[in-house]
């Protein structure tokens, strides 16, 4: 038998295959039908606390069983979420319910259905949310998301080092400066990131606000070049020699390593340091403690990463997604979810500030109610793409870093920041 491939035959087959592939790519094949209408999918961030993820999975399964819906929950890490959102929005297809961080809700608000009814039910039942929930989720007159929780950026400090130094844990930025001098001499410095990472944004916004500074007004006008900002810069400049120079190169885990190594005495971070230490170094964990936001000349301001849930307009099962949110916000389910979080995630609603998980562990009592001080990144600027660009391009940390590293003077750094803010679209 002649097994040779004939040229014409080859061309015919290859041409047909190419055409078929091309048709497939251009969508002229009927799309493969979605098997069942009663399916619902959730896209979530991997939580710091794996048990929290498991609890959400269990609640999703319970909800599915009760309502005859097949619910799947997928977890991805935080840095990948923005890309995933972009991909799903472009395809107008993907998960029904998605988690959002900080300004992400505002950035995709046109793609989200209104959740006024779900929010109003919650407010009617328990009263208003913490203010930050409204800043993040109430956009252009509608609730576009339901607040979930906050990973607060509070104080973590070493009780033993402060005791040896004869210092009380600082309550204000000026207290911290005083303690930092003593702790530097003991070779157990304090530290916060002044680098290109989210933790640096979260640390330096608190200081900027505490001194009365802001990058942009609520109307979107550039306001960084001010005496208040100059005071905040002067403060950080004074702090910098008292910290390790590595703070200029820290990533988001830099402050974790700083405390977990036993060197650092004070930093700004969620309770992840303490919770990691509880697992890997219980002796160190016993020496750690937490505290809320520090106060500055113009008040006490907190920050953190704030999380919410939204439902896509392209969701296949919007009603089931909405019903799941109602289910998730039943008192018992919230209590279970908070319990499995071990106190790491702070509640978005003050109704749950009194949850026993924070009272059971004396080390966590200092952070109860932190959410009430919290502002959204970029505040008081409106939550939008420009504020996200400021966060993502690290304009604030770079302004401080250029001064403390001696590259620019304070005035020049503020002028530099003004130009950067103009570049991202502020007037």
């Amino acid at each position: 038998m002649d097994t040779r491939v004939k040229r014409r035959h080859f061309l015919r087959v290859a041409g047909a295959a190419g055409a078929a592939y091309g048709l497939g790519l251009t969508g002229r094949f009927p799309r493969i039908a979605r098997a069942q209408e009663r399916e619902m999918s959730i896209l979530m961030f991997s939580s710091f606390v794996p048990a929290n993820d498991e609890e959400l999975r269990m609640q999703a399964a319970e909800f599915g069983k009760q309502n005859g819906v097949k619910v799947t929950v997928d977890f991805i890490s935080i840095p990948e979420m923005a890309g995933k959102h972009a991909s799903e929005v472009q395809a107008q297809s993907g998960h029904d319910l998605s988690a959002f961080e900080n300004l992400q809700t505002a950035m995709v608000q046109d793609q989200l259905i209104d959740l006024d009814d779900v929010n109003e039910e919650i407010i009617k039942r328990w009263g208003p949310w913490h203010p930050i929930a409204k800043d993040a989720c109430f956009l252009n007159g509608h609730w576009k998301a339901v607040a979930r929780m906050s990973v607060a950026f509070h104080v973590t400090y070493r009780e033993d080092y402060f005791a040896q130094a004869g210092e009380r844990p600082p309550d204000s930025w000026s207290d911290l400066l005083k303690s930092a001098r003593v702790l530097r001499a003991m070779d157990h410095p304090v530290g916060f990131a002044i680098s290109q990472c989210g933790d640096a944004n979260n640390s330096l916004y608190q200081i900027l606000w505490g001194f009365g500074g802001k990058l942009v007004t609520a109307e979107g006008e550039i306001a960084v070049d001010s005496p208040e900002t100059e005071q905040a810069i002067a403060y950080v400049q004074e702090m910098f020699p008292l910290m390790d120079r590595e703070v200029l190169a820290w990533d988001n885990a830099g402050n974790n390593r700083f405390i977990l190594s036993g060197r650092g005495s004070w930093t700004l971070n969620p309770a992840s340091v303490y919770m990691s230490a509880k697992k890997s170094n219980p002796e160190l964990a016993s020496k750690l403690n937490h505290q809320g936001a520090l106060t500055g000349p113009k008040g006490r301001f907190g920050i953190g990463d704030f999380y919410s849930f939204g439902i896509w307009k392209f969701a296949r099962n919007k009603q089931a997604a909405k019903d799941f949110l109602r289910f998730f916000y039943e008192e018992n389910n919230q209590n279970r979810y908070i319990e499995t979080g071990g106190g790491f995630n702070l509640p978005a609603h003050p109704h749950f500030d009194g949850h026993p998980v924070w009272r059971r562990d004396p080390k966590l009592q200092g952070i109860i109610g932190y959410t009430k001080w919290q502002k959204l990144t970029g505040w008081p600027a409106p939550p939008d793409r420009r504020a996200q660009a400021v966060y993502a391009t690290f304009i604030l940390p770079n302004m401080f870093a250029q001064v403390v590293s001696g590259k620019l003077k304070a005035k020049e750094a503020m002028q530099w920041a003004t130009r950067q803010l103009r570049d991202v679209g502020y007037k």
Binding site: R4, V5, K6, R7, F10, A14, G24, L25, T26, G27, F29, R31, I32, L43, S46, S47, F48, V49, P50, T72, D74, F75, I76, S77, I78, E80, G83, K84, A86, S87, E88, Q90, A91, Q92, S93, G94, H95, V151, D199, N252, A253, N255, N256, R257, L260, S261, G262, R263, N269, P270, S272, S276, K279, S280, N281
Partner: protein, 279 residues
């Protein structure tokens, strides 16, 4: 005589030593860190290059017992092998056409194919999301098998095109004279001669597929469908907490198939690269 030979050998080894250290240090670091206890990883008094206390396998145990590591390895292998196979077949045909057939715009087409390779995946994933949806492959590993050839084919085509051009046309002409068809000559004469080039293209495609991250993150979400890179990163970096030991263990094990592939095919790889794309 012996002393001279020893001196020469010493010279060779000393010359190559910095490159070996530079290349192998990341692997050494990964292996050492993957075998350290967590408390030692964070201990500033510990020597980072060696162990202060006995090595532990706890991170490897965690990986196998508490994550879907084996599933991710299996998915990665399936995706890498299939997308490499698809890409190599398409590339052989494309490269043959560009290297051997004369048609209007052939040169431009060759350049255009390579230009496609230069478009970053961070841009391409957005339009490709629509393609994946239209093919009904969202959140399956088959989405990766369908999309990886988009960056594998241009590179492999370019490499093979250069390689085919180094093979004398007379070999195929002889086959034609003996009654072989063009496709027959491609299969029976050109490809056996071009084995180093084809294997190099396959090895490169396999490595790129094995290590690909962006598409794997964007098109696949569920744990059971994830490939190695996204699986390890997404499940072992939680907020600002990095499971360093487990991450390093995952990186060590994930490197093994690539290292094995290169170890067996290194000679082909070198001859493929030097005879094809670079020469």
């Amino acid at each position: 005589m012996v002393a001279r030979r020893t001196r020469r050998a010493l010279g060779y080894y000393l010359g190559v030593l910095p490159f070996v250290v530079f290349s192998l240090f990341p692997f050494y670091w990964m292996i050492v860190t993957s075998l350290k206890e967590n408390s030692e990883i964070y201990d500033l008094r510990a020597i980072p290059f060696w162990f202060r206390v006995s090595p532990t396998l706890e991170h490897y145990a965690f990986l196998f017992q508490r994550t879907a590591f084996l599933t991710w390895m299996g998915n990665t292998a399936i995706v890498a092998v299939l997308s490499t196979a698809v890409a190599v077949v398409i590339s052989i045909l494309a490269a043959y056409a560009l290297a051997r057939l004369r048609f209007r715009g052939g040169e431009t087409l060759g350049g255009a194919i390579f230009a496609v390779y230069l478009v970053p995946t961070t841009l391409l994933f957005i339009p490709l999301s629509e393609v994946v949806r239209d093919l009904g492959l969202a959140d399956t590993r088959w989405a990766l098998v369908a999309t990886y050839p988009t960056f594998l084919v241009p590179f492999a085509t370019w490499l093979l095109m250069s390689y085919f051009r180094t093979i004398p046309l007379e070999l195929e002409e002889s086959a034609w004279i003996d009654g072989c068809s063009r496709v027959g000559a491609l299969i029976r004469v050109l490809l056996p001669t071009a084995v180093p080039g084809v294997l190099t293209a396959a090895l490169f495609a396999f490595t790129l597929s094995w290590n690909e991250f962006i598409y794997a993150v964007m098109f696949v979400s569920s744990t059971a469908q994830k490939t190695l890179g996204p699986g390890v990163v997404m499940e072992l970096i939680r907020g600002d907490v990095f499971y360093w030991g487990e991450l390093m263990a995952g990186a060590v094990l994930g490197s093994v198939p690539i290292a094995v592939a290169y170890a067996f095919l290194l000679d082909y790889y070198i001859s493929g690269l030097t005879a094809g794309a670079i020469k």
